[in-house]
């Protein structure tokens, strides 16, 4: 009888203990995590692997990302976005103690896939002249940094002067009211307008230009090349169009205001994108971009890539970054253009 009572007492004691422990497991784990994190944050992971996995768009957006070229050192890519990636990697090297350099590994992928790869955790961040200020460009789960490039926006290029005249006529009718959207909506009505899939030009046209024949292209070069149908207007970022009309496709010209000043259809700032969960990395980028802004470094980068005269190939040789060959498509095809659904 006595032994049985002791057994019962011990059994209930163990049971009670287990109940308390199992219920409190989460709390205990949280407490330990608070004092000494059991899982590494993303910055520590970057430091320990000494690699920064950066996504860039395979579709070149000069002068942010130039087409990859072959140099004496192998394949290299260059551009304003690449210089920014170097800055981030250098700052990370310092953050991680400086003994091992943090090497940026470029994952070259199609623009829409950057968002997927980011969400799947294959990238630490991506930089591809992406805007976080255009409605519809911020998918859930992603964080957009403060801008590294200000004052950009969707602009248009044309070949036929009559397209410009149509838009200017609308401005004249407004008697100095300066309603760009109304002028463009009227001026572009009935025209064939090419946009790049998923980029801000696409979102802008979809939302605002209901009377155009919208052609969706896989890339800007595809918009330029396509002949069926004939394209009247191509929309994309002003900084890109300014560069390519001067140096690459000189038979296209920027659509301007009547006085020749740039005609921007939207206002856009370009951001670095990372996961919404990467809080440490977000703060790191936030502080770094502020420092780069304050020191005038961002302004200098802008001058170097947008305004200065230079040969991208030489810059690629001297300061370009290598591509992670295992992460590039077998061969880059600039893709096709097709009429938007319902047109």
């Amino acid at each position: 009888m006595g032994v049985c009572a002791i057994k019962k007492f011990l059994g209930s004691l163990i049971l009670t203990g287990l109940c308390i422990l199992l219920q409190g497991c989460g709390l205990v784990y949280d407490a330990v995590e608070l004092i000494h994190p059991l899982t590494r944050d993303e910055l520590s992971s970057i430091c320990s692997r000494a690699r920064l996995r950066v996504g860039i768009s395979v579709e070149p957006f000069r002068p942010f990302v130039f087409p990859a070229v072959y140099t004496d050192e192998g394949i290299r890519v260059t551009g304003l976005d690449i210089e920014l990636i170097r800055e981030v990697a250098d700052a990370l090297t310092t953050h991680c103690g400086g003994s091992t350099p943090i090497v940026p590994t470029l994952h070259v992928t199609r623009f829409p896939d950057l968002f997927i790869k980011m969400n799947e955790g294959q990238l630490d961040l991506f930089v591809s002249s992406v805007s976080g200020t255009i409605p519809g460009t911020r998918p859930s789960g992603l964080w957009f940094s403060p801008p590294y490039f200000h004052g950009d926006g969707v602009a248009a290029i044309i070949q036929k002067p009559e397209v410009a005249e149509r838009v200017w006529q609308q401005f004249h009718k407004q008697n100095g009211k300066g309603d760009t959207l109304a002028a463009v909506q009227e001026g572009f009505a009935g025209l064939t307008v090419a946009v790049q899939k998923g980029r801000s030009s696409h979102l802008y046209a979809k939302a605002n230009l209901k009377r155009i024949r919208m052609v969706i292209c896989d890339s800007l070069p595809a918009s330029i090349e396509t002949k069926d149908p004939n394209i009247d207007v191509i929309l994309t970022n002003h900084s890109i169009l300014e560069y390519v009309t001067k140096r690459v496709w000189q038979n296209w010209r920027l659509l301007t205001q009547i006085d020749g000043t740039p005609l921007l259809l939207t206002q856009e700032d370009l951001s670095i994108v990372t996961s919404d969960d990467h809080r440490q990395l977000q703060w790191f980028l936030n502080n770094l971009l502020l420092r780069l802004e304050e020191s005038g470094r961002l302004k200098h980068m802008r001058r170097r890539w947008v305004e200065a005269e230079y040969a991208p190939t030489r810059r690629a040789t001297n300061e370009g970054l290598p591509l992670e060959v295992t992460h590039v498509p077998q061969h880059y095809d600039q893709g096709q253009c097709r009429l938007a659904e319902g047109q």
Binding site: V69, D72, I75, P221, T313, R314, Q330, D333
Partner: protein, 271 residues
């Protein structure tokens, strides 16, 4: 007395003869020993001479092979730079076929069925260089097959730099492209190369490489001169100083002028 004299004389002769014998026998023994050593050494000297010849032949073939790779890239330049085409079909296998054909054309050596007379060192190193060259073409596929982009900087010089580097990392042999005023500082000539390049620049055009053993025969140095052809002048010709498509100032070169050399270093203890 005469006899005495004779005996004396004989004795003297005999003593002299013994002395002479002694003087003769010692050097003879020494000579025999030297002869034995020499006879043992002779095949070694012969082997060293053969080995040096094999290394020299290997060096010449390697420089020719790298240059053939450059020639094949140059021949395919308009295809590589065609912005209208995506997949160019210029695969490592296509490159290999063209290189082997051109190498056969230039040397009479069919590397698909290497002749038995080809030194084993040459066989081994040429195979390594072929693999390195194919790897360069393989690595460059992404760049070569970009559609909508013309100039991609995949040119004989960039191909040669990478192929030479990959090969040098995989063997004890060092190959590099060099010139007096290189665009790529890694191609800067060392003191020996600079001396030879300056000498070559003053001499008439020649396809014969400069072959020289230095460091008491421990290191072979070979420089094969490369001359500017018409195709090179788009980037290296006139107007001098004006930037070419890749952003480097043109050299103002003329057809037939010395462009540089393929430099090779092979240590004698290759075996």
């Amino acid at each position: 007395m005469f006899r005495n004299i004779m005996i004396k004389g004989n004795a003297v002769w005999q003593r002299g003869n013994e002395k002479a014998k002694m003087f003769m026998i010692v050097p003879l023994k020494a000579l025999r020993l030297i002869g034995l050593i020499l006879s043992l050494l002779c095949p070694q000297i012969g082997w060293t001479q053969d080995s040096h010849k094999e290394i020299e032949q290997t060096a010449q073939l390697l420089t020719t092979f790298l240059n053939v790779g450059r020639v094949v890239i140059e021949r395919n330049q308009s295809l590589i730079n065609d912005p209208g085409k995506g997949d160019k079909g210029f695969t490592p296998e296509v490159f290999e076929r063209q290189v082997l054909d051109e190498f056969f054309h230039q040397t009479g050596i069919d590397l698909k069925h290497p002749p038995s007379s080809l030194p084993s060192l040459a066989k081994e190193l040429l195979a390594t260089l072929l693999l390195a060259s194919k790897d360069v073409v393989r690595d460059a596929q992404f760049v070569i097959n970009q559609r909508g982009i013309g100039y991609k900087n995949f040119v004989p010089a960039t191909f040669g730099s990478q192929a030479a580097r990959k090969f040098s990392n995989r063997s004890h042999v060092t190959i590099k492209q060099t010139t007096v005023n290189p665009r790529n500082l890694k191609n800067t000539p060392d003191a020996y190369e600079e001396r030879v390049l300056k000498r070559l620049a003053t001499q008439p055009t020649s396809t014969t490489p400069i072959v020289e053993w230095i460091d008491d025969g421990r290191l072979l140095r070979t420089l094969m001169p490369i001359y500017y052809s018409e195709d090179c002048l788009a980037c290296h010709g006139n107007p001098k100083g004006i930037l070419d498509i890749s952003g480097y100032p043109r050299e103002g070169a003329q057809v037939g002028e010395l462009a540089g050399a393929i430099s090779i270093q092979i240590p004698s203890d290759q075996r």
